[in-house]
């Protein structure tokens, strides 16, 4: 950790920063006007935890994640809200040079389809040096040795990988390179967008183990995004379920999986075929997720696919309320035993 950016980074493994997202709305400009892909989201990434963000394609996961780096690209923009990161403050107003340093330096991002996001014309080592220069790293040699160490840590021959072009690496190797590039500048907030999609099961299991171990060793605050709730079950401490630009349920991963309360969460879990037990218990979630143009403006965004829909669901948007360990946004659940009482202001409840 002898890099130039180390001055900004928390020292040791105990100072993972917390992330607080408040009232975040991100809109995309479309022919029908600016439409929200992320709507008034409040969410915390508690320091040192792995949070899994789950939802079907189009639910707004990548958009939310890009907001953490203030990296939403036109035609999109953050139209309201704050993203506060310990030691950095709110990243939403950051611009230019300052923003560039934060990305990669403090927040590492492994892009969706990292398997294909490397530059095919440059070796991995060359791309590493480009990254170092763009972050004004003085000691490039230290950067290279840090990269080799990280790659070695992930079971790869670092020197060989740095000499390789993308096409010479397998899917699982590219994903590891993506993780190395996200961490090599000593970032302590790491976002992994669909890190195992398109990998087979054994490779996926290897990558998930690497994520768990590196998270613990380096003292990170990690966000893992996936459409596969099984992946989250394997790595995450906290689970947030996203639908139509909203968080509809969240809480500790085992509570949410063991006792899902939102009909959407229940549907996602039921859609996973299992290795043992009655196969016909598994069922696809009926219908399809909404697109920007079809997300209803009023009422519950999930109602078209919900078996418990009531008349209030058409007009009033449910808000997150506490139920035991979980926060749930559903009128049907709110009618049952809410033991937390009032709607929760997200700020206070995290451990």
């Amino acid at each position: 950790m002898t890099l130039a950016t180390a001055a900004h980074a928390p020292e040791g493994g105990t100072t993972a920063p917390a992330v607080r997202i408040r009232d975040l709305t991100v809109v995309y400009k479309t022919p029908a006007g600016e439409l929200p892909a992320v709507s008034e989201i409040d969410m915390d990434l508690p320091a040192g935890t792995i949070t899994g963000l789950v939802g079907e394609s189009g639910s707004g996961k990548s958009t939310l994640a890009l907001s953490l780096l203030n990296a939403v690209q036109p035609p999109g923009r953050i139209s309201s809200g704050t993203v506060e990161i310990d030691g950095l403050g709110d990243v939403v107003p950051l611009q230019g040079d300052k923003l560039r340093r934060v990305r990669g330096g403090q927040i590492g991002y492994v892009f969706q389809a990292a398997q294909n996001s490397l530059n095919p014309l440059k070796t991995v080592g060359k791309q590493l040096l480009d990254l170092g220069r763009s972050h004004d790293v003085d000691d490039l040699r230290a950067l290279v040795s840090e990269a080799k160490e990280l790659l070695g840590r992930m079971g790869l021959d670092g020197a060989r990988v740095l000499d390789s072009y993308q096409h010479e690496l397998s899917g699982g190797m590219r994903q590891r390179v993506g993780i190395m590039l996200a961490l090599v500048l000593n970032a302590h907030v790491v976002v992994l967008d669909e890190p195992t999609t398109a990998l087979d099961m054994i490779t996926q299991a290897n990558i998930l183990e690497i994520i768990r171990n590196i998270h613990a060793e380096r003292g990170l605050t990690t966000l893992v995004i996936t459409h596969d709730i099984g992946v989250v079950a394997e790595v995450a401490d906290q689970l947030a379920v996203m639908y139509g630009g909203r968080i509809v349920e969240r809480g500790p991963v085992r509570s949410v999986l063991g006792e899902p309360r939102h009909p959407y969460t229940q549907g996602l879990i039921r859609a996973i075929p299992r290795l043992t037990g009655d196969i016909d218990q598994a069922r696809a979630l009926p219908g399809r997720p909404p697109t920007l143009g079809t997300i209803p403006e009023r009422g519950c965004v999930f109602r078209d696919r919900c078996e418990l829909r009531m008349s209030v669901c058409d007009t009033v948007e449910p808000v997150l309320e506490r139920h035991a360990d979980q926060l749930v946004a559903c009128h049907a659940v709110a009618g049952q035993e809410p033991d937390g009482g009032a709607p929760t202001d997200d700020g206070q409840e995290q451990t």
């Binding site: 087979d200 996926q204 596969d228 099984g230 879990i269 037990g277 196969i279 069922r283």
Partner: protein
């Protein structure tokens, strides 16, 4: 019924006379797809699944072995005479987008094969329209909605259903589904898999399901056989539930152990097996080829014998090759409970 015996396929780089860069994609694979049955091939990427599927569908040649379709050995026929047989086997592959021509509407995509079919069977052009609507209904699509649309105007799941409808235009006996749902959200996959199951029930079409995802293979073919393939060799096969609940080959056990456990709902199998990381050995599908067990470089249970001798499917050792049809290729077979099981609700 369709069967294959001793299917061998080696890919050689052009100009590679010494065979240094050859890839043994299939090393003598046997299989049987029963009439109206469902079987699955499971294994990691690069182990030869797609190559096998393409050979069975007549889209790829093979070097050795025999494919027999409805009792007719394909080697006895000239290529032209093989075609009507292979047309009874339709391939559905993983990417429904590349399978459909982006400049043609669903109507156009179905019209051509149906026109051919109408000519073969002496039917009217009116039939073509009726049949297109019937097939789309069968795959769960609204013909009025999808017929005029282009592939990019449909969701991934809808596109895959269109691909299935197009495969059905020739009234196939077998559908080969190669990772057919891997590009679709987990939440919607079972809709497509359910459709394949229904088609098997309603039309009697057999299924060959190819995947790295064992749980979906069970969903499709719990009553059929599962074949576990590693580097071009079937290393274990037998009734699907036996392979999942009492696997004996360490590779099968590794695949099953790698499936995410739904903690909170499930608990991991008691005897999970973690293979040695392939990247610290050589890559799957590698060219180096020593004499021993193909899985030995990654096998946590290998012995000296394993690196010397190659175990043969059904014949490695007598133990645990059972009467119910389970066979394996391992010198040290031990049943291990590796599949996750449900935790009882409190």
């Amino acid at each position: 019924m369709i069967s294959g015996t001793g299917i061998v396929k080696t890919f050689r780089q052009r100009g590679d006379v010494l065979g240094k860069n050859e890839v043994k994609a299939l090393r003598g694979v046997d299989f049987t797809i029963p009439e109206g049955g469902a079987i699955s091939f499971i294994g990691e990427s690069g182990c030869g699944k797609t190559t096998l599927g393409r050979i069975i569908a007549g889209l790829e040649t093979h070097d050795e072995g025999e494919i027999t379709i409805g009792g007719v050995a394909m080697s006895s026929l000239r290529t032209r005479a093989q075609q009507p047989h292979f047309r009874r086997i339709q391939l559905i592959h993983q990417d429904p987008y590349s399978a459909l021509n982006p400049t043609r509407t669903v109507h156009q995509a179905l019209h051509d094969p149906l026109k051919l079919r109408a000519r073969e069977t002496g039917r009217s052009s009116q039939w073509i329209y009726e049949r297109a609507e019937e097939l789309l209904g069968l795959v769960g699509l609204d013909p009025g909605y999808v017929l005029p649309r282009y592939p990019h105007q449909l969701s991934g799941g809808m596109r895959q259903r269109v691909v299935i409808a197009r495969a059905l235009t020739v009234d196939p006996d077998v559908l080969v589904a190669d990772e057919a749902v891997s590009m679709i959200d987990v939440s919607l996959r079972l809709g497509i898999l359910r459709l394949l199951r229904d088609l098997r029930e309603q039309l009697g079409v057999s299924l060959l399901y190819i995947t790295h995802d064992v749980a979906t293979a069970r969903y499709i073919g719990a009553d059929g056989d599962m074949y576990v393939i590693y580097r071009g060799q079937v290393v274990e096969s037998g009734p699907t539930e036996t392979i999942i609940n009492q696997p004996v080959h360490p590779y099968t056990q590794s695949l099953l152990s790698a499936i995410p456990v739904l903690y909170g709902v499930e608990q991991p199998g008691a005897e999970q097996v973690t293979p040695i990381d392939s990247l610290t050995t050589a890559a799957v599908g590698e060219t180096v080829d020593d004499a021993g067990c193909l899985f030995a470089p990654r096998c946590p249970f290998r012995t000296e014998r394993c690196t010397r001798e190659r175990p043969v499917l059904g014949d490695a050792v007598p133990a645990l090759q059972d009467a119910e049809g389970r066979v394996h290729a391992c010198f040290h077979p031990i049943e291990r409970q590796v599949a996750a099981t449900s935790v009882q609700a409190p």
